[in-house]
């Protein structure tokens, strides 16, 4: 008999996903991969929402997830459009070389 999946398991998974996403955002040089890592961050947050929702028996957490997904979809659209334009203009997608917006 397998042990039941408790809130703690779900939160641990969510934390793990968050850490993976965070490291990706901080260390990756490619803008596409940074965006991808951002999506993992959002998913980890979504997972935490759903886990709490189930454990507390309250649907509002799940509603929140829908909102996050919608916003994430929009954000990805804009982010990918920007990434496309950057790659056309600069010829690559290296975040370290995009340093025009500074003092």
């Amino acid at each position: 008999m397998t042990a039941p999946i408790t809130l703690s398991h779900l939160l641990a998974l969510s934390g793990l996903l968050f850490s993976i996403g965070l490291v990706g955002v901080m260390t990756r040089r490619n803008i596409l991969l940074i965006l991808l890592s951002l999506e993992i961050l959002l998913s980890s947050a979504n997972l935490a929402f759903v886990a709490f929702s189930r454990s507390l028996g309250d649907l509002s957490g799940q509603i929140m997830v829908f909102f996050v997904m919608v916003v994430a979809a929009a954000e990805v659209t804009v982010g990918l459009a920007i990434a496309l334009l950057i790659s056309r203009k600069a010829g690559n997608l290296n975040a370290d070389e995009l340093r025009n917006l500074k003092w």
């Binding site: 965070l22 955002v25 901080m26 940074i34 975040a95 370290d96 995009l98 340093r99 025009n100 917006l101 500074k102 003092w103």
Partner: protein, 620 residues
């Protein structure tokens, strides 16, 4: 009728607004509006006079609440009692003559609508002073009079001298008004000493001051200080020594303006203010003594300056100063009725003198009496009216000046013999310089080409002259002192005194005869006497160096002080505060901008660090 004072006050204001809005390009329309506005005021003033003659008549006081805050209640109110009715009659009556005269005198001017708009504004402000029932309303109009006289003196602003004279008049008056304002604020404070709500209403202040003095709550020194501060305002408006310097220069304005502002109305405002606040001065003998002394000194001082002046308008200006000194002296000696009486008669004959002088200037295009001469035959109406006014000013029986001057001298005779001597001597000097002007300008033969071809002025100018002659002659007989005496307990009243009147008449006759002998008959005193006179003429022709002294003070004290302040402004305020703040901001910015690297992941790391810090602090 409660509306009467409001109509009297606002008719000229409406005329001014109408000229500015609708008649800026029309000379006849602007003149009609201005004269019409003042005529409405005049007729309501006459109506108020007739009402007040009724034995059961009550004074009309009407006010609207202007500011109403806890601890600060101000009203805008008008008071129509005997002195203010008399003054509004003088202002509107003499003003009406001057307005009509202006149509002839200023008819050629391009800026005539502007001129009439200013005149109406001035009449409005002056009536405001006359009718105000509290210090705040009075002060508002007091400043408006200053502003509109600035506009009128500088009417010919393209002439540098006229523009400078306007500025001088305004600045000198500002200095005086500063003291006046402090005096008003002190009175405001004093009025609440016994716990009542504060007030600046004349009638209420009078009661409160009396109570304060009776209860001993108020120190006499403080009251004297307040009196002298209020008197400060008088010094400026009535051009008393040492603030007399603006009046002679103000003669740069058009002559009807000189007649209106510098003879009949504005300069009389100071004297009227003493009369209005007589309840204050009456309580403080020290302040009264100062008022009397300054008045007496100004009377003699200005009369002596008139002796050597060659500009006909400037002679009249010094004469005005001297007569204002008389009035101030009378009020300072407690002669409330005498002072206002002389103010009234003086307004008539001095306006007549100025308008006569204007008529001559209009015909000859010169102000210098030595370029006139022989005008008696060429300009009979002007000459004869001028002669009548001259005799009235000298105090010759039975003209109006005789009666009012005698009242003042009689008060002085009983209250302060020294000032009586000063007043009588001034009467002699007055007779001499007026005799000199008349002999040189009107008698003998023409002294310059233009004087030989002079013609009488048109009726629009000569008729006002003739009309003004009427009150000049009869104002001594119509019971003005009796009218003023009604309802006025404070003050000294002295009956007609034959000795005083006789002496002053003799002195005046002597002055006139001497002037006729010297300037009419060509009598030459001995060489010794001439040498002494030449020595005496030097300080007189330099006006006792008062302007030079003020100039020196301006250059060496005020300017140095201003330089010092300018250093403070440049280095402390601008250098330290304004630029200092800018430099600190700039430096901080130049350090902080180093954090802006342009690396997206750098910003993300900062965000993470900040978030971690917040989490750490909140979960600790």
């Amino acid at each position: 009728m409660v509306a009467a004072p409001w109509i009297i006050l606002f008719a000229p204001a409406l005329a001014c607004a109408a000229i500015v809005l609708f008649a800026r390009n029309s000379k006849p329309l602007s003149a009609t509006l201005a004269i019409g506005g003042l005529a409405v005021s005049f007729s309501f003033a006459v109506y108020a006079l007739l009402q007040s003659l009724h034995p059961l008549a009550e004074t009309i006081e009407s006010s609207v609440s202007w500011v109403n805050l806890p601890g600060l209640a101000l009203e805008f109110g008008l008071l129509l009692d005997h002195p203010s009715i008399l003054m509004s009659l003088v202002v509107t009556g003499v003003g009406l003559m001057i307005f009509i005269y202006s149509v002839g005198y200023m008819g050629e001017e391009r800026g005539l609508p502007r001129y009439f708009a200013f005149l109406s504004l001035f009449a409005f402000s002056m009536l405001g002073i006359v009718l105000a029932n509290n210090f705040v309303t009075l002060f508002i109009f007091w400043e408006l009079v200053g502003a509109s006289s600035y506009l009128l003196i500088g009417f010919w602003y393209e002439r540098p001298k006229a523009a400078d004279a306007g500025k001088k008049a305004f600045l000198v008056n500002r200095i005086a008004d500063f003291g006046f304002l402090i005096g008003i604020l002190m009175l405001w404070n004093l009025s609440g000493l016994e716990g009542q709500s504060r007030t600046l209403n004349f009638a209420e202040l009078a009661e409160r001051l009396q109570a304060l003095v009776a209860h001993g709550t108020l120190s006499p020194q403080l009251l004297t200080a307040v009196g002298l501060l209020v008197f400060c305002g008088v010094l400026g408006k009535s051009a008393q020594f040492p603030l007399h310097v603006w009046l002679p220069d103000a003669m740069e304005g058009p002559t009807p303006v000189s007649a209106l502002i510098h003879a009949a109305t504005m300069v009389a405002a100071g004297v009227y203010l003493i009369a209005r606040t007589f309840f204050l001065f009456w309580q403080t003998p020290e302040a009264m003594a100062w008022v009397a002394a300054i008045g007496g000194f100004t009377a003699l001082f200005a009369a002596s300056l008139a002796l050597v002046e060659d500009d006909i308008k400037r002679v009249l200006a010094y004469s005005t100063l001297s007569q204002l000194g008389y009035m101030v002296m009378a009020l300072g000696l407690g002669g409330y009725v005498a002072g206002i009486y002389h103010l009234t008669t003086h307004a008539f004959f001095k306006a007549l003198l100025f308008l006569g002088a204007g008529s001559v200037i209009h015909a000859l295009h010169t102000n210098n009496i030595w370029e006139m001469g022989g005008l008696l035959k060429k300009m009979p109406v002007t000459s004869i009216t001028f002669l009548i006014a001259t005799l009235a000013l000298c105090g010759i029986f039975p003209l109006s000046g005789f009666w009012s001057k005698d009242e003042i001298l009689a008060v002085a005779f009983f209250r302060n013999p020294l000032l009586w001597v000063v007043g009588t001597a001034t009467a002699g000097l007055t007779a001499f310089y007026m005799g000199r002007v008349f002999c040189v300008a009107f008698l003998g033969s023409a002294r310059a080409h233009s004087a030989g071809h002079a013609h009488e002025s048109p009726p629009v100018m000569s008729v006002p002259l003739m009309l003004l002659t009427v009150p000049t002659m009869v104002a001594g007989f119509i019971g003005i002192p009796h009218y003023l005496h009604h309802g006025q307990e404070a003050g000294v009243h002295v009956p007609f005194n034959a000795i005083v009147a006789g002496i002053s008449t003799l002195v005046a006759m002597a002055g006139l005869s001497l002037a006729y002998a010297v300037y009419g008959r060509g009598y030459q005193p001995g060489i010794q006497v001439q040498r002494v006179l030449a020595l005496a003429a030097v300080p007189l022709s330099r006006k006792f160096w008062v302007d030079e002294v003020y100039g020196w003070i301006n250059r060496n004290i005020q300017q140095r002080f201003a330089d010092l302040l300018s250093l403070f402004e440049r280095y402390i305020i601008i250098g330290l505060y304004v630029n200092g703040v800018a430099k600190i901001t700039g430096f901080t910015g130049s350090v902080l901008r180093l954090a802006q690297t342009g690396k997206v992941q750098g910003y993300a790391a900062t965000l993470l660090a900040g978030l971690s810090l917040l989490l750490y602090l909140s979960l600790r």
